[in-house]
């Protein structure tokens, strides 16, 4: 069945059309009346016919208009019904008297209700029965517009079948055009599966750290012990110890990525000088790498964010650049303010990243030259996390590289001159 066209008539247009039709009717009908009824007695009779006709025509128009509105409303409500029932989360529509007037199919499943009707009625009664705790929607609506106008909270919900599950409840007010509320919509998201997965993942991370590090500790310590005792090939033992350190770092990075992705609320937001931080990281690296050359031109660049996380990003970019910089060469780090953003670039004069490898730079296990330089390190670890850290600050991380001409990795952060560190 063809969908009826949406009514685009605004109230002003409808009234205007009505006024024009009315005025036209008066002008035309008076002239016709004059032509048809020369005598006053006829005129009075025709006047009544004219009035009756006007009422008939406008009534017909009004009827058609209302019919269109009603069909449109029916279509809309069936669309809303389909959307609501298609949503995976439970949705409750609550009216101004705090009575649940609608619930979707997911709500029936989530509450393990026998039918939709079982959920309708007093909201307070439903909350009491299921321990559902609605967040304060009024405060959220007053505080902000858009997504901020939705209040959220987590609670435990006791389903009708007695089972308890972890849920996240969000509530948004349904406003009249003047902003005053005439009800609210509550969305209940079943977190039991994700909560279970999260805790399983955290447990895995902790276990992995332990399970990997103990054997690594044994291997490394034995290699060192043999080296100290002058047993075995000294250089081979050094390689073993070095590779164990590398495995430990890889493990550390992987754990950091998992942990970072687990929690989005981990980022601090404090004002700091990006130039000062860049200087600090460069100085620390120079010390650690025994005077490897890093040319740095820091400027004062106040930004807002997680200083230690951004410090990690700087460290990763500089470490990578040093790894690829030929011995005796100089890594260049710079910081400039471009409009509303501060941009840090780190440039090396190493072999560069071949074009066919470039799309994979931010893959977790990317290596620049898998065939030629098997020991060149796991480049991608750190870069994918770095990019995530930067984007969570509202910035971007990118690179330019050409085979044989080195690489430049850069990232931007929103410049915040008004922020005082």
């Amino acid at each position: 069945m063809a969908r009826p066209p949406r009514i685009t008539l605004s109230p002003v247009r409808i009234v205007l059309v009505y006024a024009v039709v009315g005025a036209g009717w008066i002008l035309l009908s008076d002239r016709v009346l004059l032509a048809l009824a020369p005598s006053m007695a006829d005129a009075a009779r025709w006047q009544s016919v004219k009035g009756a006709l006007f009422v008939a025509v406008t009534s017909a128009l009004l009827f058609l208009l209302l019919l269109r509105f009603r069909r449109e409303r029916d279509v809309l409500s069936s669309e809303v019904r389909t959307i609501l029932d298609g949503v995976a989360d439970a949705v409750l529509v609550v009216d101004a008297d705090r009575r649940v007037e609608d619930a979707n199919a997911a709500a029936v499943r989530l509450f393990s209700a026998s039918s939709r009707e079982e959920l309708l009625g007093s909201l307070e009664a439903l909350c009491e029965r299921t321990r559902l705790a609605l967040p304060e929607a009024r405060a959220a609506a007053l505080e902000g517009a858009g997504p901020e106008a939705t209040a959220r909270r987590e609670c435990r919900l006791r389903r009708f079948d007695g089972r308890e599950i972890a849920v996240e409840v969000s509530a948004s007010e349904l406003p009249w055009p003047d902003g005053s509320p005439h009800g609210l919509v509550a969305v209940v998201h079943d977190r039991s599966e994700s909560a279970r997965l999260e805790s399983a993942r955290e447990e895995f991370i902790a276990t992995a750290a332990h399970e990997f590090r103990t054997p690594l500790a044994v291997v490394k310590a034995y290699a060192q012990l043999m080296r100290r005792r002058g047993q075995g090939d000294a250089s081979a033992l050094d390689v073993i110890a070095r590779q164990v350190d590398r495995l430990t770092r890889i493990l550390q990075h992987l754990l950091e990525i998992s942990r970072f992705r687990l929690s989005s609320s981990e980022l601090e937001r404090e004002p700091f000088d990006l130039g000062e931080l860049l200087g600090e990281v460069c100085a620390a690296l120079r010390e650690r790498t025994e005077g490897r050359k890093i040319l740095v031109t820091p400027v004062f660049a106040p930004v807002v964010g997680d200083r230690s996380r951004i410090g990690q990003v700087l460290l990763r970019l500089l470490e990578n650049a040093l790894r690829f910089e030929p011995l005796g060469g100089q890594v260049e780090a710079s910081l400039v303010v471009e409009g509303d953003r501060a941009v840090v670039s780190v440039r090396d004069h190493g072999p560069g990243i071949p074009p066919d490898r470039q799309p994979y730079v931010f893959e977790p296990s990317f290596r620049t030259f898998p065939a030629q330089l098997p020991s060149s390190g796991v480049f991608g670890i750190g870069l994918d996390l770095s990019r995530e850290i930067v984007s969570r600050h509202g910035g971007q991380l990118w690179f330019e590289s050409a085979a044989g001409r080195g690489s430049t990795f850069a990232f931007s952060l929103p410049y915040a001159p008004e922020a005082r560190a």
Partner: protein, 138 residues
């Protein structure tokens, strides 16, 4: 190695108790400590470690945190309840935040796995005094 609080307060006791459930790592640390010239005993879990402590109070406890039967946290709680700060505890942990594990049980120091042999020797010297002649071999 972290800055610790213990120092040499354990007095003349020079024995080391290695509490570690991994037999290879326990054997290795035992060998390192013994070759450094300190008397050493091992325990595979917290409960066994408490029994060893009852036999003789060591001068230093190297404590793994995750162990079967009785883990490092439980051991530290039981040890403190019975013996207070009779011996310094150095946490040897594979956890990500070793210092936090150390803080949790108010340990006197921590070693992060995988550690350097040198770190173990420095720890022993700090809590038990200078190495003996035998240590020259290491």
């Amino acid at each position: 190695m972290s800055p610790g609080r213990g120092g040499l307060e354990a007095g003349a006791r020079t024995g080391v108790l290695v509490v570690e459930d991994d037999p290879d790592l326990a054997a290795l640390v035992e060998m390192v400590v013994a070759e450094a010239g300190y008397p050493v005993r091992t325990a595979a879990d917290g409960a066994m470690a408490l029994a060893r402590v009852e036999e003789e109070m060591p001068g230093l406890i190297l404590l793994d945190m995750r162990m079967p039967v009785m883990n490092g946290w439980e051991f530290a709680r039981a040890f403190r309840a019975r013996h207070g700060r009779a011996a310094p505890i150095v946490v040897v942990t594979a956890a990500e935040n070793a210092y936090r594990r150390a803080e949790e049980i108010e340990a006197d120091g921590f070693l992060e796995k995988p550690f350097e042999i040198e770190e173990v020797l420095v720890t022993l010297a700090r809590f038990l005094g200078p190495r003996t002649e035998a240590a020259a071999r290491l």
